[in-house]
């Protein structure tokens, strides 16, 4: 059985949190460049995209994170069933990594306890939001995704009727993005989870964001839905920062799973242009 040290997990989470907040993925940068130089027509929209591309360069130097909102640390774990964690427990090790990464890395601490009353800041950005999956093999894959509050607040769940069908999905997701307007820092990436139960649809919506930007779903019918959604969304005219333009979203990513005969859950998770995540395999 393969052994993985808890301390290595903590160090890895810490490193990934800092890297994700300073180095925007090349796929996201490419999508922003395509939006700027090939698609956007609005002068203000182009100016916004220029600012975002400049921002990427400054953040890379290491003194300033991409966004002041360095996010809630969403940590996705794929643990191989043959791996054995030694020298500590998995979940505390992840929280420890977040604590270390956000403290030593000068990242903003944005987590508050007792959300409906005291809202007291934990001062180390814990707890992380952890999703675990058990997979074959002996490796541990860790993805750290700092998720900003502004775009996360625009999330929505639609418990649609089976009769609503494909058109219902198009209408619901488009209406969520329309209502969100300039709030989630467009251009966005829209994550959509279709099927499952209410909770699963929401997680799939977020999980779909962990795909390279614009890479279509492997299933042809789902890929066609993603494409139609992107067209509908960009036809809204919201544009970069909501000031009007052709590029409201860079991509739509959907994940689809079976569901109950009575249901058609549709989860929407909005990701701002600062689409940050880094992964490591131990």
């Amino acid at each position: 059985m393969r052994e993985i040290q808890a301390s290595v997990i903590a160090e890895t989470v810490a490193r990934l949190a800092v890297e994700a907040n300073h180095f925007l993925g090349e796929d996201v940068v490419a999508a922003l460049k395509k939006a700027r130089f090939e698609i956007e027509e609005s002068p203000q929209g182009k100016d916004v995209l220029d600012q975002l591309l400049k921002n990427v360069e400054i953040a890379k130097e290491g003194a300033f994170p991409l966004c002041q909102d360095t996010g809630v640390a969403v940590v996705s774990i794929e643990l191989g069933q043959d791996a054995h964690i030694v020298g500590g427990d998995l979940i505390p090790a992840i929280h420890e990594g977040v604590r270390k990464g956000y403290t030593d890395g000068y990242l903003r601490k944005s987590m508050v306890g007792q959300p409906f009353s005291a809202r007291k800041n934990s001062k180390d950005n814990t707890p992380a939001m952890i999703h675990t999956e058990i997979v074959p093999g002996g490796q541990l894959k860790i993805i750290v995704m700092p998720k900003g509050g502004g775009c996360e607040n625009m999330s929505a769940l639609g418990m649609l009727k089976p009769a609503d069908g494909r058109q219902g999905v198009l209408d619901f997701v488009t209406s969520v993005i329309d209502k969100a307007g300039s709030n989630p820092c467009p251009p966005t990436i829209v994550g959509v989870g279709i099927g499952g139960s209410a909770d699963q649809a929401m997680w799939l919506a977020k999980k779909s964001l962990l795909r390279p930007v614009g890479q279509p779903n492997a299933d042809e019918e789902t890929a066609a839905l993603e494409k139609d959604l992107l067209t509908r969304i960009n036809n809204l005219g919201i544009g970069p920062m909501g000031l009007g333009g052709r590029v409201t979203s860079l991509a739509v990513h959907a994940l689809v799973v079976p569901c109950h005969i009575a249901s058609m859950p549709v989860g929407v998770n909005v990701q701002c242009h600062s689409a940050r995540f880094k992964e490591a395999v131990l």
């Binding site: 003194a63 300033f64 994170p65 966004c67 002041q68 903003r108 944005s110 000031l243």
Partner: protein, 181 residues
């Protein structure tokens, strides 16, 4: 167009939705928790820790300042969360707000009533925006950390007028111009 703070009613009267502006001078920083405290202070009939008359409030909570720097990354937060508090601050003389995202009708109405303006900075351009901040000082509520009330000195701080005092709305105009059936 360039603007130097504090803002007078005459200066606000010149601004129109959609204009690109560079702000120089003092601006104040406050977000959710600081707004809650300020409005509670006013409701108790007490004075605010800073005089907001003629001033601009920037909705922002910076990342921590690295050694040798003035401030951390410093982009705008979503303004809608301050909608509950904003009219009360305009009532006591606040002239400008900087943030990003949509405002509710009562806030836009208050801008017309009290002759104030709402600017948007580019959300997520936080590292770039930080370069325009020359000085930062915590004025109150230090225990709120990133949510403390701060005073900034800014130079050519780039914003766009979203809502002017005449009811103009750059978000609505922009969307109308680029929407397709």
């Amino acid at each position: 167009m360039k603007l130097t703070t504090p803002l007078t009613e005459e200066m606000v009267a010149q601004l129109r939705a959609g204009q690109t502006i560079e702000i120089t001078g003092t601006i104040y920083v406050a977000r959710d928790a600081a707004h809650k405290r300020m409005v509670e202070t006013l409701d108790r009939g007490e004075k605010l820790p800073v005089d907001l008359s003629g001033q601009i409030v920037y909705y922002m909570g910076p990342s921590p300042t690295k050694p040798g720097k003035v401030i951390g990354s410093a982009g705008p937060t979503t303004s809608g969360r301050m909608d509950r508090y904003a009219p009360r601050l305009m009532e006591i003389g606040l002239k400008g707000m900087i943030g990003k995202g949509l405002r509710l009708p009562p806030v836009k109405d208050a801008m017309q009533k009290y002759k104030a303006v709402y600017f948007a900075a580019t959300g997520g351009a936080a590292a770039l925006i930080a370069q325009r901040i020359k000085k930062a000082e915590v004025m109150a509520y230090e225990e709120l950390g990133a949510e403390a009330l701060q005073k900034l000195e800014v130079e050519d701080f780039p914003v766009i007028v979203v809502n002017d005092m005449y009811g103009g709305d750059a978000y609505e105009d922009g969307k109308k111009q680029y929407a397709r059936k």
